[in-house]
């Protein structure tokens, strides 16, 4: 993926300790990082925690960023890793009756006034279906099919094997397809 000159310059300056350049990178990527975190975590509070963790990690390890990929792609990987850690912690600490069925659909306003009503309805349905997926399946399908991360990177950031990542992806796609585009007979089967 092409890296813009402006972004490359900001990254280089930030690596040299220019705080204003890093702040500019944060401003440019904050909303998209938040969106990804929200999709992975399923709620605003956890998404905010993840975003904070992402930028703190990025700040600490900026010198290790080689710059051969886009800064946003690097952030996507950190976000995936941070979200996986938060989800693991949340699972360990979960003593109440929260289940994936309690997933809250995304109702925040988005920055896209041009979108047609039909496309908006479809997008809302897809977001709702994603929110209803089990966390482990949701993480893989979001990283692969929304953000285009390669299987290898997904496996690495989620701490699972590539084979496991592929199995989860297939299950997630199957569940989403059955829910969003059911074949004849599947709707009745789901309703029973």
């Amino acid at each position: 993926m092409a890296v813009s000159v402006e972004e490359a310059e900001l990254v280089a300056a930030a690596k040299d300790g220019d705080g204003a350049a890093f702040a500019e990178l944060v401003r440019a990527t904050h909303a998209s990082t938040y969106t990804m975190a929200f999709r992975l975590m399923g709620n605003e509070d956890d998404a905010r925690d993840v975003v904070q963790d992402v930028y703190l990690r990025a700040f600490r390890s900026l010198k290790r960023f080689r710059g051969d990929a886009r800064f946003s792609t690097w952030l996507y990987r950190i976000t995936a890793n941070s979200a996986a850690s938060h989800l693991a912690r949340r699972t360990r600490n979960r003593h109440d009756a929260i289940t994936d069925d309690d997933a809250v659909p995304d109702e925040r306003l988005d920055i896209d006034p041009q979108l047609s009503a039909e496309a908006r309805v479809l997008r809302d349905r897809v977001n709702l279906a994603l929110a209803e997926l089990p966390e482990k399946l949701r993480a893989v399908v979001v990283l692969r099919d929304v953000y285009d991360l390669p299987h290898e990177a997904i496996a690495e950031e989620l701490g699972i094997s590539e084979a496991a990542a592929k199995v989860r992806l297939h299950r997630a796609r199957k569940k989403l397809r059955e829910q969003l585009y059911p074949m004849p007979g599947e709707e009745r089967a789901r309703a029973v």
Binding site: F38, Q52, D110, L122, R123, L169, R173, K174
Partner: protein, 132 residues
């Protein structure tokens, strides 16, 4: 071309094709020849494959959707980043002081050792002069 009823070609059934479609749809997995032949001949499997393609397009389009973070989220983040920056600066200063402290001890130790050697050497010379 067969109707949308389920059927089997060679050892391939609609059920076995359905199990591999989620991997085939983005080209990551490649369908073997019997599976390919089955899909070519089966309207039901073609329809299911088309639904998977629609799903992938819909998911991919989500990437252009950007949610607006809550007001104040960015300010909160900058506060955390500033605190981290200050901590790092403090750690740097402390590590600098530690180096200076260790350096001072090393210099003092070296000085003391040098003085001891000097004293010992002079005492030895004095003893030799007295003996001669």
């Amino acid at each position: 071309m067969r109707s949308s009823k389920r059927f089997a070609t060679a050892d391939v059934t609609c059920e076995s094709v359905a199990a591999v479609l989620p991997g085939i749809v983005d080209g990551h997995d490649v369908a073997d020849a019997p599976t390919h032949a089955h899909v070519e001949a089966c309207l039901r499997c073609q329809a299911e494959l088309a639904q998977y393609r629609r799903l992938l397009r819909a998911l991919h389009q989500l990437r252009t959707q950007v949610l607006a973070p809550a007001p104040g989220a960015l300010a909160e983040l900058f506060t955390a980043l500033n605190a981290e920056g200050e901590q790092r600066a403090m750690r740097f200063l402390l590590s600098g002081r530690k180096v200076a402290y260790v350096g001072g001890i090393a210099a003092a130790t070296a000085g003391a050792a040098g003085a001891a050697i000097l004293v010992a050497t002079r005492a030895r010379h004095r003893r030799l002069r007295l003996a001669s």
